[in-house]
């Protein structure tokens, strides 16, 4: 019940079109890049998907993170704008469930745009690298991996968005985090595992460094961990308010 309710709330905020639009913008990167400099990439040897991911994923991941930041902010902005959250508090709905459904919605729409982006990457690989081989299994693994390592970021951003009533503060903190983790050196493993930094990893890079299992274990731990933090925070806030 809460899930359909949450989706209804988001109907007129432009949330879903914004995500799909971001998916299109992110998907445009590999296409434009290949149209402009096809020679540079086709000359490289190796797996076409890896070449394309190396060339474009940094920017595509950044778009994904930014839309998650905006999306989370708007989700809680609609709640806070006209004291909606206070009204929700008196309904027979658990406030924790509210948060979880918000997370589920973001995770699902994120999955859709990541599949979209992977499909476009696959299309580019087929068009510009004919006969170089592309396995469906590899594609699915890539999409799944990218989705999984983006989830801690989504969770953390929702925690931040739920904590501040004013949208610009949560947006500001989100943007600062994106900025901070993009300027810190990328070769430190501990930083790579942090939310806001892990989405930049690519599957091929993780395979090369033998870190796939590390990411596959830690990211699904981080996500509910941050969720627990939110539950704690809600408990504390209820006492303070």
């Amino acid at each position: 019940m809460t899930l359909s309710l949450e989706i209804k709330k988001l109907k007129r905020t432009g949330y879903f079109p914004a995500f799909i639009g971001a998916g299109f913008i992110a998907s445009a990167f590999p296409v434009i890049n290949m149209l402009a400099r096809a020679q540079t990439f086709t000359a490289l040897s190796g797996d076409p998907l890896t070449i394309l991911m190396d060339a474009n994923w940094q920017m595509m991941a950044m778009i994904n993170i930014l839309i998650c930041v905006c999306g989370s902010c708007i989700m809680y902005h609609t709640e806070y704008a006209d004291n909606g959250l206070q009204k929700m508090d008196v309904l027979p709905v658990r406030s924790g469930a509210l948060f979880i459904t918000k997370f589920v919605i973001t995770a699902l729409i994120l999955a859709i745009i990541i599949v979209m982006e992977t499909a476009v990457l696959a299309g580019c690989a087929l068009h510009w690298f004919p006969g170089r081989g592309l396995s469906l299994w590899e594609l699915l693994k890539t999409a799944g991996f990218q989705w999984l390592i983006t989830l801690p970021t989504v969770m953390m951003m929702l925690v931040i968005a739920s904590a501040w009533k004013n949208m610009w503060i949560s947006l500001g903190i989100g943007v600062i985090l994106v900025f901070a983790l993009s300027i810190l050196p990328q070769d430190l493993l501990i930083l790579n595992l942090c939310p806001f930094s892990s989405p930049y990893q690519t599957y091929a890079m993780a395979v090369q460094n033998d870190r796939v299992s590390l990411f596959l274990i830690l990211c699904p731990v981080e996500t509910p961990g941050l969720g627990l933090l939110e539950m704690f925070y809600q408990k504390i806030r209820r006492c303070v308010q």
Binding site: L66, W168, I169, I176, F179
Partner: protein, 256 residues
Amino acid sequence: MSFLSLTTVELKKIRRSWIMLILLIPVVIMWIPSVIYGDMNFDTRGIPITPENNFFIQGFMGMVWFMIPATLVIGTVLLTQTERSNNGILKMLSLPVSTAKLCLTKFMVLILLSFVQMVMTVAAYYICAAIASSMLDYNFFLEPLYVFRVALSIYAGAIPTAAVFWMIAILIHTPVFAAGIGLASIVPSVLLINTKIWFAYPMSYPFYLLMVEYGRCADGIYTSEIDWLPWLPTAVLITVLALGIACIRFGSVQKR
């Protein structure tokens, strides 16, 4: 009401918005890696640049390409959203003040905020240069006049960017779209800076100006001369056009 008193009113409105803290944090964060990895400035990888210039340019790099436009986006969200709660904007619009003037004062506040950030950035630069100098026993200080000139030119280059973001924030009433378009438009500036049409893309102006400065400090990295001719008229045109549209459309949704 005069322009000045309107601006002071606008500044009062955002007094308790925590925006100064949000402006300050990235400024501090951006210099931390520069200080920690201060010795990297001596390893110039064959680029003919002095360590002190390297310290200055590398420190500004992340700030200029991402954080300056991003703070402008946050500023537009702040300026549009503070008044939407409790319909404050309706009360403002019912006052005998021209809406265009109101729109321009809000834009002035946006510019003022980025100017405050510039001053903070320069101050943070000197503090960090002092720390790095004492840590590594090397003088990282650059002339204040030079530092201020570069910082000022970068932030002046951000004015057309601000105008475009302001127009987007006014035209698109849904905050998720306005902020999303703003933030998404920053990302491709890295690619566009190396194409011939960079001058038509306002989000890349601050980055371009820093790259030119980089080109001046280190030969062959980038062009060392600013291409004034296609750029200046385009930038002025974009700014005037964006502000014009913003002034015309300001408050039109509420006035319906």
